[in-house]
């Protein structure tokens, strides 16, 4: 992958509750914005293939089930389009497949677009659906899966993070404080308000030990990226961002097969493979956008990616290491917590943020760029069995 | 004859004060009753009672040749519940599945059927289970008085802790309470004074007398009299008519656990066996829907040796309790449901 793929344009709509916008509206707006973001211009017909991220397929509101839906939305029936669905990492994997389309040499310029319409159903219904199935649907028996929904699977991890690593609910709440603060500087974030530790801990319990404000919101959104051959990038922009590594990693979906509850091997595997592909190490990163679907998850992700050792993340958080002005900023966009989690759009939205940060166009939330390398990460899917990691760089 | 090889019971931990269900309807009731939790039913109770009975009996599940269940509370009119128990108890596919229903005398009939199967040689060991959680509706007598429990008995010819030395049945066409297919609850007594004299008392007395006559024993030969307990008063009426001292009666459960239907006499039997001594004789007489079965049992020495494998004695279940209120009860019985939208 390294040396073969460049991002020449990114675009997204602000994430939020878009009751007045349909799935098609949001996807179209993200696509148009993305086209317009290509500095030196691009004609739509230059895009020769597309990958379409859509998670729900209609199970929690409007959805799309085939690539042909995107063909209709963008008004281009002439190109091959594949729908990608891979749990919460749908966006990351949609992007990965688009990159593979270019790295393979078959296509010069391709589109990756992710869109999710979650708010056609009440928040509680989509929270439960997004958090777990009813058993038979996932090929498991209800007696094993009953009682789950929302953050309950991550709560298993939170309980052990507290028991084995000494993390506290205050530590988790501080992740929300950091990310909400970051979100106030991001015009695309779902939530633009600050929270305090007290407010988080006093919010209603959703699944002990996680409170309402430990959970990311249900969000509508769309985001897109245009990717092309690295050696053609300068034709489209003076500031291409290169893809160094892109990987998907797995872990067992069944909780009774997992090795422990303080580490998610899907992330460990996805990150390890992406770093190998990129020929860089976690220490080389300037910042990371990670999958904080729940506050405790962010701390686990940081460790699993290798940014710090297992058990260290809470201490470093408390020392300000992950703040936007800290040593290794995490989620300068506000993370899923404040920026929102329109499932298939999330990963590509994070790619947008990494691109803007590396181009130093992030305005009030700009992090310090030294090595010019940033990382994007998602984890999720049934039983948190899938993770996607993309590593981007300012230079080839 | 065959006898009891092992037994086990289960009583749910939840209790409702009978008055809490009666007073809102200007009815009167006293005492309390055991009620199932929201995830319990006659099958889950029977599973736990049976598991304990099999362990107490000291037989392997694969040796159980027939499983008999007596209940009036099955969730199904067509679908056996014995196979569900056979799965959780890990019985063999060759075990005969026999579901008795239709009356709170059904467990007693199930015991009769099991004895027949063992006497005939068709089955070496059988398990007989009485399990009940009768259907109720707000404002009915049953809603205040019907309790939930399960009692299981492994029956066979080897390792007996109590011989069953005789059985006698007495039945007439008599209707006191009923549940038609169209009904989701058991009716009140049609006329309690009529029903108690010509229903309960007449049949319990006739069956008990018939048994004593048949096997040539007298009331003085019994140490315990275990009768069906729909309420606290009826057993005493039958005892008086039989000339049996009320001291012989098993402790009343009707105002502690409620009217336990087809496992009523059998829960009381378990309570008696928990403390009975070898050589003591027990009279057990059930009653339901105009049918009464009377059994005579003699406790054996083995009862002491098997005590260490006993599950949970009745006394302990009486101590393990947690009260719920009437609204929670209505939600559990689904009389009160949340509107979907």
């Amino acid at each position: 992958m390294r040396g073969k793929v460049a991002i020449i344009g990114v675009g997204m709509i602000p994430f939020g509750e878009h009751f007045q916008k349909s799935l098609e509206d949001m996807a179209a707006e993200a696509y148009i914005t993305c086209l317009e973001s290509v500095d030196k211009g691009i004609a739509p017909k230059e895009i020769k293939a597309a990958w379409f991220g859509q998670w729900s397929g209609g199970t929690i509101g409007q959805g799309a089930q085939a690539g042909s839906s995107l063909a209709s939305i963008i008004g281009n029936m002439e190109i091959p389009i594949t729908r990608v669905e891979n749990g919460c990492p749908t966006g990351a994997d949609t992007f990965r497949n688009a990159c593979l389309g270019v790295a393979s040499g078959v296509y010069d310029v391709v589109l990756a677009l992710g869109v999710e319409k979650m708010r056609d159903k009440p928040g509680s219904e989509s929270l439960i659906a997004a958090g777990g199935g009813t058993g038979a649907i996932m090929g498991q028996h209800p007696s094993w899966m009953m009682g789950h929904g929302g953050p309950s699977l991550q709560a298993f991890y939170a309980t052990r993070q507290m028991y084995e690593l000494g993390f506290t609910m205050e530590d988790f709440a501080k992740v929300a404080v950091k990310n909400h603060h970051n979100g106030t500087f991001c015009p695309y974030a779902h939530y633009r308000f600050e929270v305090t530790v007290e407010r988080v801990l006093n919010s209603p319990l959703v699944c002990w030990p996680l409170h309402l404000l430990d959970c990311c919101p249900q969000t509508d959104g769309a985001a897109a990226a245009i990717v092309c051959r690295a050696d053609l990038a300068k034709k489209y922009t003076d500031k291409p961002i290169y893809v160094l590594g892109s990987n998907v990693g797995h872990d067992h979906a069944n909780y009774w097969d997992k090795h422990n509850f303080i580490e998610m091997l899907a992330t460990v595997r996805a990150a390890r493979g992406a770093f190998e592909m990129a020929a860089v190490k976690p220490e080389d990163l300037d910042f990371a956008e990670v999958h904080d679907c729940f506050t405790n998850t962010e701390l686990m992700n940081i460790e699993d990616i290798g940014i710090c050792r297992k058990g260290e993340a809470a201490k470093l958080l408390n020392e300000g290491e992950f703040d936007t002005k800290g040593r290794i900023p995490v989620n300068p966009s506000g993370g899923l917590k404040a920026h929102g989690h329109p499932i298939a759009a999330t990963g590509i939205g994070q790619i947008c943020e990494v691109v803007w940060q590396l181009r130093e166009e992030a305005d009030k939330r700009q992090v310090k760029i030294k090595s010019g390398i940033g990382l994007q990460h998602n984890v999720g899917g049934p039983g948190f069995g899938v993770s996607g990691v993309n590593i981007l760089s300012r230079s080839l | 004859m065959a006898g009891i090889v092992g037994y086990g019971i289960y009583v749910p931990r939840y209790r409702l004060k009978q008055a809490d269900a009666a007073m809102p309807w200007a009815n009167w009731a006293s005492g309390e009753k055991a009620v199932c939790g929201a995830d319990e039913d006659i099958i889950t109770m029977a599973a736990e009672a049976s598991d304990k009975a099999i362990k107490h009996a000291g037989v392997a599940p694969a040796q159980i040749g027939s499983i008999y269940i007596g209940t009036t509370s099955s969730p199904y009119i067509e679908q056996y519940i014995t196979p569900i128990l056979a799965e959780t108890l890990e019985l063999a596919s060759e075990a005969t599945m026999i579901d008795y229903s239709g009356s709170v005398n059904s467990t007693a009939n199930a015991l009769l059927g099991c004895l027949d199967a063992i006497e005939s040689g068709r089955t070496k060991y059988g398990i007989v289970i009485g399990t009940e959680d009768r259907a109720t509706a707000p404002g009915t007598e049953g809603e205040a008085s019907f309790g939930a429990a399960a009692a299981a008995f492994v029956i066979g010819k080897d390792g007996i802790i109590a011989d069953i030395e005789g059985v006698y049945t007495y039945s007439t066409l008599f209707i006191d309470r009923w549940r038609a297919t169209k009904d989701t609850w058991v009716s009140n007594y049609f006329d309690y004074r009529f029903d108690r004299e010509f229903g309960y008392e007449k049949h319990v007395v006739a069956a008990s007398k018939g048994l004593m006559g048949k096997i040539g024993i007298k009331t003085e030969d019994f140490r315990y009299a275990v009768f069906q307990q729909p309420d606290e008063r009826l057993p005493g009426l039958a005892a008086r008519a039989l000339g049996i001292s009320s001291e012989l009666l098993a402790p009343g459960m009707a105002s502690i656990l409620g009217d336990l239907g087809s496992c009523s006499a059998f829960i009381s039997l378990a309570g008696v066996l928990d403390t009975a001594k070898a050589g003591e004789r027990i009279l057990l007489t059930s009653y339901g829907s105009g049918s009464s079965n009377a059994f005579s049992m003699i406790v054996r020495d083995q009862i002491e040796q098997k005590k260490k494998n006993l599950g949970v004695p009745l006394e302990r279940y009486l101590e393990q309790k947690e009260y719920i209120d009437y609204v929670s009860y209505l939600k559990i019985t689904k009389a009160l449901k949340r509107a979907p939208y």
């Binding site: 007696s143 009953m146 789950h148 097969d257 | 995830d39 679908q79 949340r338």
Partner: protein
């Protein structure tokens, strides 16, 4: 979303797992899992044998869920239990008045309970109950 359909082949296939706790054990790496399968999910071995899980264990991790799909009353303690003799089991703890009573390391035993009802048919399965010490 489709409903459970207790009469379906899916549920019938699960009977040995759900009622008799028959899973598989990998003879090469020792991993114990369920439902029964042909390939070990840990090491990819084809060398699997049937294995009966114990009905007793200790709580490895838990969470208390307050936001639930219709049919369950909150709060619901969900758990992962380390089973005696190996393997882990995912389930619910029933009969807990105070969710705060649940702790990592608690001893639990399986009890048969009603899990869900569909088309008038009940689906049963094992839930856990805290074992009282002594």
């Amino acid at each position: 979303m489709s409903s459970p359909a207790p009469a379906s082949p899916l549920f019938w296939r699960f009977n040995p797992e759900v009622y008799r706790l028959i899973g598989v054990r990998c003879k090469d790496c020792g991993h114990i899992t369920y439902p029964r399968r042909k390939i070990c999910p840990i090491c990819g071995s084809l060398n699997l044998e049937e294995h009966k899980l114990s009905r007793r264990g200790t709580v490895q991790t838990y969470a208390i869920n307050w936001v639930l799909p219709p049919g369950l009353e909150p709060p619901v303690p969900v758990v992962i239990v380390d089973l005696e003799g190996g393997g882990k089991y995912q389930g619910i703890i029933t009969e807990v008045t105070n969710p705060e009573d649940v702790k990592i390391g608690d001893k639990v035993e399986m009890v048969l309970r009603k899990v869900v009802t569909d088309r008038g048919l009940n689906i049963y399965g094992y839930k856990f109950r805290l074992v009282e010490e002594g």
